[in-house]
């Protein structure tokens, strides 16, 4: 055995070198373009338009960010986004995980049928109009709850959670049941603590989805005070795009007259918004990462 490990020591090194090499290559392929985004975001727009900016701004400015924050409802949008992300993620993770746990139980009559029926909704939908009518009849359109309630469950997340729960050893639950634990008790005392990486993962998925979703705000909400950050930014960028489109048509003088007064900062503005969207996610990421690395405690329990 000693021989084997000595033999593999050299091998281990090569594996490590290859591993690090590939990861560094991947990281560079991601970081370099992002440095470019960063450099453009902090460069004067008109100067950047001349090209030649790679990884460092040539004429440094905060003007692009100022311009974005000048959008009147951006701070309001920020608050809405935080609200929906925090509340939405919290509720969604709790409810999804409970449902996933219940569906996992193989002794539960109807669990297969229910799983199928839930999965089925992923494949078929009646399209946007019936959905809109339902939201309207529930008075959800033009309300802040339209961000939270229709997003409480996601089939994808639920089935993934279920598959993770299925892999926790049955012994743990059996033992708890013998100790007189109810299903709720088992879920909160046993399942939740041992499944931290899953919870962290699904929470991250959920939070990012909430944070990035601009469609709901653009489509089901008309009150501009209820629009989340992503929608506000998306609308700002579409405005820039519309400017370009209108110029291209150049058929309507009256419209052009209106549009000429707004200054176009185009690309630089876009880059600044990317930074603004990514930063908060980057900030919550380390908080969740703690739970990823923690691993599970299954090992400590004797099967």
């Amino acid at each position: 055995m000693k021989k084997a490990s000595m033999f593999s020591a050299g091998m281990e090194k090569t594996v490590d070198v290859m591993n690090y090499g590939l990861l560094i290559l991947l990281s560079l392929s991601i970081l370099l373009p992002l440095m470019n985004v960063l450099a453009l975001a902090f460069n004067v727009g008109s100067d950047a338009a001349k090209g030649g900016i790679y990884f460092w701004p040539r004429e440094f400015t905060l003007e692009n960010f100022r311009e974005v924050f000048n959008q009147s409802n951006i701070l309001n949008g920020f608050m809405i986004s935080i609200f929906r992300t925090v509340v939405g993620t919290f509720l969604s993770v709790i409810l999804t995980s409970m449902a996933a746990y219940a569906l996992k139980s193989r002794t539960l009559p109807g669990h297969k049928q229910l799983t199928f029926l839930i999965f089925f909704t992923m494949l078929f939908s009646g399209g946007i109009i019936p959905y809109y009518i339902v939201l309207k009849n529930l008075s959800l359109t033009n309300s802040i709850w339209v961000y939270i309630i229709p997003a409480l469950y996601s089939v994808w997340n639920m089935l993934i959670m279920r598959s993770f729960f299925q892999q926790t050893p049955e012994g743990l639950e059996e033992a708890a049941r013998i100790d007189g634990c109810s299903d709720f008790g088992i879920f909160f005392r046993i399942i939740v603590p041992v499944s931290k990486p899953v919870f962290a993962t699904i929470a991250l998925f959920n939070a990012v989805e909430h944070w990035n979703d601009w469609f709901t705000g653009a489509f089901y909400v008309r009150d501009s005070n209820l629009k989340p950050l992503s929608t506000v930014l998306q609308e700002m960028l579409t405005k820039q795009q519309a400017l370009a489109d209108t110029l291209m048509k150049a058929s309507n003088p009256a419209q052009l007259q209106m549009i000429d007064k707004i200054q176009v900062t185009g690309t630089s503005l876009k880059m600044a918004t990317i930074i603004i969207v990514i930063t908060p996610i980057l900030m919550i990421y380390p908080l969740l990462q703690k739970y990823f690395a923690q691993g599970v405690m299954i090992g400590s329990i004797k099967e």
Partner: protein
């Protein structure tokens, strides 16, 4: 070891079924009332937000009229389906869609798994966090940005790739995006680049969840790192891989609108027309609700058939299934 875990309940189930009589089912229903409580909001949710709107699928067979509503509008039978299949483009479009999404489902599958395994090999926590954090970033860039980048890198003469080619004495003027045979590689690798990190999260969580005792045992048996990966890590995350694979099959006929739309050039138009771009062409927005719904229904059915088949196979061979 893991096998044993999942095999055990299967056995128990079959004995239960044999003994299954009415009172036992009642007992089980009542005994599980807490689990049903956990499911109650979930069931209500899917009824309200999925099944009620799903009634709208009848639009696939109706000529929708604003004043008559979904159920009052007149029936048109299979008109929309006939319209689609009479169109000389439709077969090509279905073919394109399937090829693109098969590449994304099958060929792309190993990459995030590999990344997760590679990340797991990094023992220094801090370094691991840095690599992970970086790998997730492209997920947050929109396709417009990513494709813009691709265009720059691949542009004739001035692009990075062509400069490298001419550095080695080749002809550096290839216009890759106008070339039909460059479409699939460009589509595939840009997809991998953007999503590899994000998709690896779930596999990484699965790897972290593997019982460390298994690795200890393997080490004692003298297994090297490759053997550990092969014998413990991969089987350990197999249920996760299968579930994600089956779930992605359900979406097989939506090949991802943004990316394909942005990569379209006249040069690759025979490969890049997919169902989603087709819908735009057919003027779905101009009130052709029925036609759009009909196509959606078709997508759903193909997804359903695939999932049913693969789920069955998976249950037989890997003892993992959706239901």
């Amino acid at each position: 070891m893991n096998m044993k875990l999942s095999a055990a309940p299967m056995k128990r189930k079959s004995t239960e079924r044999a003994a299954g009589s009415r009172p036992r089912i009642w007992n089980r229903l009542i005994g599980h009332y807490q689990l049903y409580l956990m499911l109650l909001p979930c069931i209500a949710f899917f009824i309200i937000f999925s099944y009620i709107p799903m009634g709208g699928v009848v639009l696939a067979f109706k000529d929708y009229q604003f004043n008559k509503g979904i159920f009052g509008s007149p029936w048109v039978g299979f008109t929309y389906f006939e319209m689609f299949f009479e169109d000389p483009f439709s077969l090509q479009i279905i073919k394109n869609t399937i090829i693109i999404s098969l590449m994304k489902v099958f060929l792309a599958l190993p990459f995030p798994i590999l990344l997760a395994v590679m990340l797991n090999e990094i023992k220094r926590k801090r370094l691991l966090h840095v690599f992970q954090g970086i790998a997730y970033l492209p997920h947050f860039l929109s396709w417009v940005i990513v494709i813009g980048l691709v265009q720059r890198i691949l542009s004739p003469d001035t692009g990075l790739v062509n400069q490298v080619i001419s550095w080695f004495g080749g002809d550096g003027s290839t216009f890759f995006l106008m070339k039909e045979n460059a479409f699939y590689p460009v589509m595939f690798w840009s997809y991998i680049w953007k999503d590899i990190g994000w998709s690896s999260i779930i596999y990484f969580a699965a790897i972290v969840g593997i019982n460390p005792a298994l690795y200890e045992a393997a080490k004692i048996d003298g297994a090297g790192r490759f053997q550990q990966m092969w014998r413990i890590t991969l089987p350990g995350i197999r249920p996760t891989i299968m579930i994600i694979f089956i779930l992605s099959l359900g979406n097989i006929l939506s090949a991802g609108f943004d990316q394909i739309y942005l990569l379209r050039t006249p040069g690759n138009m025979n490969l890049s027309e997919i169902l989603d771009t087709y819908l735009i062409h057919m003027g779905l927005e101009s009130g052709q609700f029925g036609f759009g719904t009909a196509l959606g229904l078709m997508q759903g059915f193909i997804g359903l058939i695939l999932v049913l088949v693969v789920n069955r196979i998976s249950r037989k061979w890997f003892e993992t299934s959706l239901w």
